[in-house]
Symmetry: C2
Subunit: 256 residues, 2 copies
DNA sequence: CGTCCGTTTGATCTGTGTCAATCGCTGTGG
DNA sequence: CCACAGCGATTGACACAGATCAAACGGACG
């Protein structure tokens, strides 16, 4: 292993609109909670449907094209967000170019569980994204008015903590194939309540994103995919869409 | 790298009382919040000093000798805890013996930020420990009575999430020496408000614990210690007590 | 049809895991 | 009091998994 593993991995825009320029965030007025597909998955569900006007009043809508940056490491944190559509990655860079993707964010996920006054990660859109933005101050007053909202946030923060601790095991003790198996199972499980098929996983991110998420190189990720395919655990529809043939074997490999 | 890294690492009791039998938890009545050294560091600080009787009424005290187990992976979660004294480790085991130490818990740390109905980690005392135990139900009613308590819990959960995400970078992208540097800096920073000297770090845990925390082997941990010493970044007082000679270099190495 | 870029595959190198021996401290028993 | 056993930590030799280097493939788009 190299002293500087992953130093080659390059940050790059990617996703649905492959060759689109990164573009920049667009602000819009809030579209309303009633039709929001993410609402049942998000902390917003802690506020009764009758009171969504309070949420709508506080929130602004952000449209983020694939490749665009929502916030950069070191920026002051002024807002928190709920993802309503698309996927983002949470990235940290080392001065020598090594990159870590600390996680992927999907519809319903909350951005803002941090005690730090500044962002500790850069947030980049993997695909075109939609988000609800809440100024920190508004979120605080909403929490005071709706105690259930704070409870919901605590519950979601706890489940994110559980997930992050699970990733520690992936990175600390699992072999490449096992890490990939765990990643696919977890991603599949998260996509299912968001309209995904039970035995398919969509991979809107690049191999470099996966590699930097699993602490590997793109070559090792690719080889691990190939081996999982050869073992019959997965099948490719195309490089960005995988069929989970033997979920039990994948779960076993990941130590779940 | 092996397919089963760290498979050799053995779980073992250790700490202050090296050869003491593991022993078992002892229950006691609560000693009172007034003299509690951990209180200012813990979520308990969210409840005004005048109202600590509510905490004391809900809490039981647990004394845990070094090596003893507070809870095992898979056990149903009935209580949450605040550590008042000593150090614990949060351990997950794979069926083939690979072990991950997901973290170390110190005075003021809260045990119970999880959405799962069962423990996802085994909690073992590294040294003799003291804890305050709260039945889940009592904690829920305390949160309702004292909204600041729930805010405090959310804040602490967020800071734990920040710390855990930081560990992802350690495990995912840093070389052994860098991981160890980051570990020492972080441990030193946590020990300082708990009565530690600013330039010393106590390591009550074994090299095996450190190895399983950093995703390495004990040999690599030992060699990394040696190299940090040779480079002048640290000095040994004994294997369990380190002087941080060049904190800046350590922070730089860890990408902080 | 050709370029671009992400992905896959092959060959080689090296850092870290594995195996093994030694050191040093602690506690024990003759 | 000293010899010995036990355990954790350190150090050395070697092997191999995965990183690095390099090339080819394949779809998207102009």
């Amino acid at each position: 292993m190299d002293t500087r593993p992953g130093a080659r991995s390059a940050a790059e825009p990617a996703g649905t609109a492959r060759h689109a320029a990164a573009g920049s965030p667009k602000r819009a007025t809030h579209g309303g909670c009633a039709g929001c597909l993410a609402r049942p998955l998000a902390i917003c569900a802690s506020i009764p449907a009758a009171d969504t006007h309070a949420l709508e009043a506080a929130a602004g809508e952000v449209l983020l094209p694939a490749g665009a940056t929502l916030a950069s490491e070191g920026d002051p944190r002024r807002e928190v967000y709920t993802v309503t559509r698309g996927m983002l990655r949470r990235v940290r860079l080392l001065s020598d170019g090594r990159r870590l993707v600390a996680g992927f964010l999907m519809a319903g996920d909350f951005i803002g569980f941090s005690g730090a006054p500044r962002y500790r990660h850069t947030l980049e859109a993997v695909t075109d994204c939609g988000l609800c933005a809440f100024p920190l101050q508004s979120m605080r007053s909403l929490c005071q008015r709706y105690p259930d909202l704070e409870s919901g946030m605590l519950a979601q923060a706890c489940s994110e903590l559980d997930a992050t601790r699970g990733n520690l095991m992936l990175l600390g003790r699992l072999a490449p194939g096992e890490r990939l198996a765990g990643f696919l199972v977890e991603l599949g499980a998260r996509q299912q309540p968001r309209g995904g098929a039970s035995d398919h996983v969509d991979l809107p991110m690049t191999r470099a994103d996966i590699a930097d998420h699993l602490g590997l190189t793109i070559e090792t990720v690719s080889r691990s995919f190939t081996r999982l395919r050869q073992s019959g655990a997965i099948a490719f529809e195309d490089p960005r869409r995988i069929r989970l043939v033997d979920v039990a074997a994948l779960r076993r490999a990941a130590g779940l």
